[in-house]
């Protein structure tokens, strides 16, 4: 898979993670157990691979090559999101404590919920607004690639509901809106009559 070759904070790259999934080889295998960013990346790549297999069973080689624009966009955004990012505060019962979750963990959550939706793959995911300030209104901006033939409005409504539930369960963010943009409609191979 052709993947952007930027380095994460831990010193590894999305390309190395992809190679690990393809070959089982990684420069520092033990690192994969202790790096949350790499583990989030592996999860995303696995889901992306699965989605590619399901959507493009007749054209997997081309999809997996990373030459498609939609695939390139997803990988480029994934590269950006596999970082801790901002610290999102959580309420504490003790004033001396500092409880937070990383923006990267929340973006990975949004991506994992999105990728569960049939025929959809998360593209760019962004939290708009100052997530470091408790109670600040936050908008989730999500770009989607969907397979041709899926009912877009119904899928978006269901996904918005699922994302709202997940974010309420795992964060204390004040989610003002979840904006979903279909940026790619993937024309999957059709069966011959």
């Amino acid at each position: 898979m052709s993947i952007p070759h930027d380095t994460f904070e831990c010193g590894h790259t999305l390309e190395e993670l992809s190679q690990y999934l393809d070959t089982g080889e990684f420069p520092d295998p033990r690192h994969l157990e202790t790096c949350p960013d790499c583990r989030n990346g592996l999860d995303s790549l696995r889901r992306l691979s699965t989605a590619g297999s399901e959507l493009f069973s007749n054209d997997l080689a081309e999809a997996g090559s990373g030459n498609d624009d939609w695939m390139k966009n997803i990988l480029a955004n994934l590269k950006l999101e596999l970082r801790p990012g901002r610290s999102i505060p959580l309420r504490s019962e003790n004033a001396a404590d500092t409880l937070t979750e990383t923006e990267g963990s929340v973006l990975a959550l949004v991506r994992s919920v999105t990728d569960l939706a049939p025929g959809a793959v998360a593209g760019r995911v962004r939290l708009e607004g100052d997530v470091t300030v408790p109670g600040e209104a936050i908008t989730v901006n999500l770009d989607l690639a969907v397979a041709f033939g899926n009912p877009l409005l119904g899928s978006a409504a269901a996904l918005r509901h699922d994302l709202g539930e997940a974010l309420a369960r795992h964060t204390e963010l004040n989610i003002a809106a979840i904006d979903i943009t279909i940026t790619d409609v993937i024309d999957t191979p059709r069966e011959e009559p």
């Binding site: 959580l90 003790n94 404590d97 409880l99 990975a108």
Partner: protein, 153 residues
């Protein structure tokens, strides 16, 4: 690695460890609160919803050079100790699972965790903070808990 009993006020020492008896107020083995090394990690993992305890490396990577030097010194000492018990030491990914900074009056404890998809993350984080606080009692600690990963469903 030991924390000075009466450090100079301006000096703040950083220690890398997961060993409660090295922290202020936990000095005597055999007392009610004394536990084996590694027990803090176990205490955090016992909190329902916690799936992982990650090394606090990203934090100490950002420490000033002086503090980092202390940290590396501590790591070296710890590595030597680990070798004596047949365990590996010195690899940044080996730890620390908890970073504690002590100045004789207060201790800051930093923990990075992963949380399961079925858990309610804010509740889990507060429970972890409470578990860390209970672990170090009666010493007063400030707890920093960061969720670095929410496991997919």
């Amino acid at each position: 690695m030991t924390v000075p009993a009466q450090p100079t006020p301006a000096k703040r020492e950083t220690v890398r460890e997961d060993v409660r008896e090295e922290l202020p107020g936990n000095g005597q083995a055999g007392q009610p609160n004394a536990e084996a090394p590694g027990s803090l990690r176990a205490a955090v993992l016992r909190v329902e919803g916690v799936t992982d305890v990650f090394p606090s490396r990203p934090l100490w990577q950002r420490l000033p050079a002086g503090a980092l030097s202390l940290l590396q010194q501590a790591a070296g000492q710890r590595g030597a100790g680990d070798r004596s018990t047949g365990q590996q030491g010195g690899d940044p990914d080996d730890g620390p699972l908890v970073e504690a900074r002590a100045d004789g009056s207060a201790t800051d404890v930093t923990v990075r965790i992963g949380v399961g998809a079925d858990a309610r993350t804010p509740d889990v984080v507060r429970a972890v903070a409470a578990a860390v606080r209970a672990h170090f009692a009666p010493a007063q600690v400030s707890v920093k808990v960061t969720v670095a990963r929410i496991s997919p469903e």
